[in-house]
């Protein structure tokens, strides 16, 4: 019996065709391939690689968007180095990152451990903790101004009822960033929790069972058996949340607009003001490239560190 020859269109047998026909076939395959991937590829690359390259050129120019751009070489970058406002923005961003990243990782881990069990009401618990994930930055920002309003907010109301002193919250330069971090944690707890939950469910049950039989306490089981399995995920969560943290903008825009006294002006807020408020496109692009470089360095740094310690996360 003659077996039908199994072929996939686009990979038709080329061996028994003359050379010209083979070349034609290749052409058809290439055209077909690009017909599939072309539209999406053009949009994605056209709105990323091309602007990214342009941005690099812009960062070497002085341009307000209207007059002719002038090439000024690395002057924008050297101006950044001596710009006190930029360094303030770096400090504020760093402060937020230090507040947000470790807390969000620890909170995610703890919530995941708590939620990783079959008890009553677990569905309710999960939903309650996960649903804030869908809240937008605008919505979270408005909620923050409402809940932490010094005069009418719930936060001060609770303090008052407990007989504790009232706080300025978003209107206090030393507290505003903390409030922003709290609201970020509220909205993003779901993300780190879900990542850790998935990792916890990958821990082989035989290992924890065996530890239990050997008389290990839950505490020992967690730190000796479970935690080593979670290290790669922790590396991933830290990288991911750090990248997000140093790009903080939305919540600042919707709560404090950089205030009070510039205390919440982050790098991206600084960049946005330079680009779209004072129309310094070149200077803004330079700040954006510095941010890009820092993001890459942090990612590479953490990944190399984790490779060294054999925590394969990527």
């Amino acid at each position: 019996m003659a077996l039908p020859r199994i072929t996939v269109v686009g990979e038709l047998p080329a061996g028994d065709l003359p050379a010209g026909s083979r070349r034609l076939r290749r052409w058809v395959e290439t055209l077909q391939g690009w017909a599939f991937v072309g539209p999406a590829t053009v949009i994605v690359l056209g709105l990323s690689i091309f602007p990214a390259a342009w941005s690099l050129v812009l960062s070497l120019q002085k341009w307000d968007g209207f007059s002719d751009p002038t090439m000024i070489g690395p002057a924008n970058y050297s101006r950044l180095v001596t710009d006190d406002q930029f360094w303030d923005a770096v400090r504020h961003t760093l402060f937020y990152t230090v507040l947000f990243v470790p807390t969000s990782a620890l909170m995610g881990l703890f919530l995941a451990v708590a939620l990783n069990r079959k008890i009553r009401l677990i569905g309710f618990y999960r939903t309650a903790i996960f649903v804030p994930f869908v809240a937008s930055a605008a919505s979270t920002g408005i909620l923050a101004t409402y809940l932490f309003s010094p005069q009418f907010g719930l936060a001060n109301d609770v303090l008052r009822r407990l007989g504790l002193p009232q706080q300025g919250w978003l209107e206090d330069p030393s507290q505003a960033m903390v409030v922003i971090a709290i609201m970020s944690l509220w909205g993003q707890a779901a993300f780190t929790t879900v990542i850790y939950l998935a990792a916890l469910q990958d821990v082989p049950a035989e290992l924890t069972e065996a530890a239990k039989i050997d008389g290990a306490s839950p505490w020992q089981t967690f730190w000796r058996i479970v935690w080593p399995h979670l290290s790669p995920v922790t590396v991933f969560v830290v990288v991911w949340q750090t990248i997000g943290a140093i790009q903080l903008f939305d919540l600042v825009y919707t709560t404090t607009r950089g205030g009070p006294l510039d205390a919440t002006k982050t790098i991206v807020y600084f960049l946005w003001e330079r680009a779209f408020r004072t129309l310094e496109f070149g200077y803004g692009s330079a700040a954006a490239y510095v941010l890009f470089a820092v993001t890459l360095l942090i990612t590479i740094g953490i990944v190399v560190y984790s490779r060294r310690r054999n925590l394969e996360a990527f």
């Binding site: 686009g10 290439t30 342009w54 937008s136 998935a198």
Partner: protein, 294 residues
Amino acid sequence: MAAPTTLSAPSRPRSTSTPSARPRRHRMSGWHFFLFPTALLFMVPFVQMVLASLSPAAELVQFPRPLLPSRLTVEGFVGLFTETPALRWLLNSTIVAGSAIVAQSVLCSLAGYGFARLHFRGRNVSFFAIVATIMIPTQVLMIPTYVLFARLGLLDGLTAATVPWLAGAFGIFLMRQFFLSIPVEMEEAAALDGCSRLQTFFRVVLPLAKPALATLAIFTLLGAWNDLVWPLIAINSEHNFTIQLGIANFQGTRRTQWSLLMAANVVATAPLIAFFLAAQRQFIATMTLSGMKG
């Protein structure tokens, strides 16, 4: 009767009286003491939002503020829809998010399939380039994209808000991974039956891709509906605002009209909360995957 023998549960005196396959159910888990207050704490912002949206405006600026409103009213919502173009903003957001979801589903699955299954010149280079763009922060792209759109005359319109969402590197990557995971034999069978590539794609492959498409749709919905930065840069006229831009700019002008502001917040957030409650499992899958895009 045979008592269930589980290695993990050493028999306690209490549990012998009511033998059960689930020995842990007997005593209340201590975790409730942590989880219950935590869950309530996480609900506080949304509960406060809904309560405030239904409160009489005057009670929200009283001191001390009553814990619960004396009566429930929809004045906030009425004010929202009569005094502001919020309805228009909702419509705009629906158009942006809707077109984004449709376009991403079509374009990203076509591209994902092309990269997964077809052999053509430039395939690996372009796929690598697409994946590499995931590393580029939006901030690097903001300024040139703004200038580009200004030159194309697209600024301050819904097109400007929509175009960046029509296709995405993550979507292409997601769909490619999915198509790689399904067995190639089905497509071969379809090809034997005389289906063209495009027919195979639409009749055989795409119906299998529903879970991946659901993930992509949720990812796109969350991104496009909640996006603030891009509309903020690209849109100026109030009637072209998306709902997010609308409520974000509200704050400046109506900072203390809390019932109005919270009503706006409710209509901006409620659709997503409803979707989340209806498709929680898919949302969680999306969250896990969207983390993987790094």
